[in-house]
Symmetry: C2
Subunit: 229 residues, 2 copies
Amino acid sequence: MSNLDIPSFLRHQPLFQQLSPEQISALVPHTHEVRGLKGQVIFQKGDPCDGMFLVVFGRVKLALSSAQGNEKVMEIIQPGQSFAEAVMFLGRPCPVMAQFLEDGMLLKVEAEGILQAIDNDAAFARRLLAGLSLRLHGLVRDVERYSIESSLQRVIGYLLQHLPEEGCDLMPQVSLPVNKNLIASRLNLTPETFSRMLHQLIEADLIMVEGRDITLVNVDKLKAFGNRE
Amino acid sequence: MSNLDIPSFLRHQPLFQQLSPEQISALVPHTHEVRGLKGQVIFQKGDPCDGMFLVVFGRVKLALSSAQGNEKVMEIIQPGQSFAEAVMFLGRPCPVMAQFLEDGMLLKVEAEGILQAIDNDAAFARRLLAGLSLRLHGLVRDVERYSIESSLQRVIGYLLQHLPEEGCDLMPQVSLPVNKNLIASRLNLTPETFSRMLHQLIEADLIMVEGRDITLVNVDKLKAFGNRE
DNA sequence: CGGACGGTTGAGTCTCGTCAATAAGCGTGG
DNA sequence: CCACGCTTATTGACGAGACTCAACCGTCCG
């Protein structure tokens, strides 16, 4: 199990990459590795949380769970992304739980280090603000989805949002990053409904599905399909 | 129509109150009044937006609208609160629309002024970050409500969240800040469903309703009611 | 008075979740 | 190699929760 070069990892994060070497060094004492196995819980809903996390490798899910025990995935965090910044600033209990989806490793940067970096570098503060703003927009989008879109529209929306870069590709393909149960939960659907919606799109000749690979046969028709069906 | 003393208003906002007089003065040239009548739209979903807004008086709603034309209230902004900070940092189109609920007045602070204040005062940046974090938590809470709570639970949750300060009051009263249609939309319910849920709580002797004033007869039972019914 | 608005109530409908059965994929171990 | 258990995915039958549509009522206001 190799040790990570923390300064060089931090330097390559979008959030930190414009900090001076001294500022990075100042961050290091507030940073430590967190390793975990698949399924391991990083923090529970309600836990206090005094730092933010950067994913080095492995994926992490953020989820809510209801009193009835069922669970809803809020976000799937990929390597290179971060989470829990907002909790850190408030010193409040976490509103969600975080769990490793596979064996992985995180860096935890304690609030003190971040606050210090804010004081030393206004540009850092701006990036942090931009990052939070982006997350906020994502949540607004989620609220929009859950409140005014049908399940079919949510599935279509997901597919369109996860198109590969070159938008003008003729028959673009989307690969689900995790299993369908998780995607369904992320879209606030049961696995059954998700399966049925995909099937509906298949029957309309709009997509083709092979395991986790979904080919969009006709992007324009797909965009239009949700609106009147 | 009296003119507002902008510096003194800014100084009394939580966000700005710890800025020095010089910093406040620096903000003033980037600030201007926005007055509007009831129903007037401040910005539409999709509009560019290069500043944040402070509500001086009058209330404002933030809402989404679907392709089918129906509209969903995301937030009701009271005097003293602010909105659109997050859009400002991203320079993206607004994800929601904003509209006066009654005749009112806002202050718009342009992005440039805010960015400048961030550069001059790290504590300001921190407050801004805390403000955004708070909003983020609110949205997480909303997602939770919309995705795993039933309509009855959402109504109960709303009532409990809007209790007056003294928590130990025997029969606390909640006054709806706006009409029931808007509250229903905020809770992602139709007015009909909202009415029915209230009625259900009345029949269970948990609340009493008189117009917009709702008396919580038994807070503890109310908390428990959503879970098994 | 007439109309607009806000709110309530009833009847019918539909979307989506629940429950159950089945199948396919996969690693393990005999 | 196959049997097995486990997870993942699909499909069908059914039911419940919430929306839609419509009628109705009270109040406010011109």
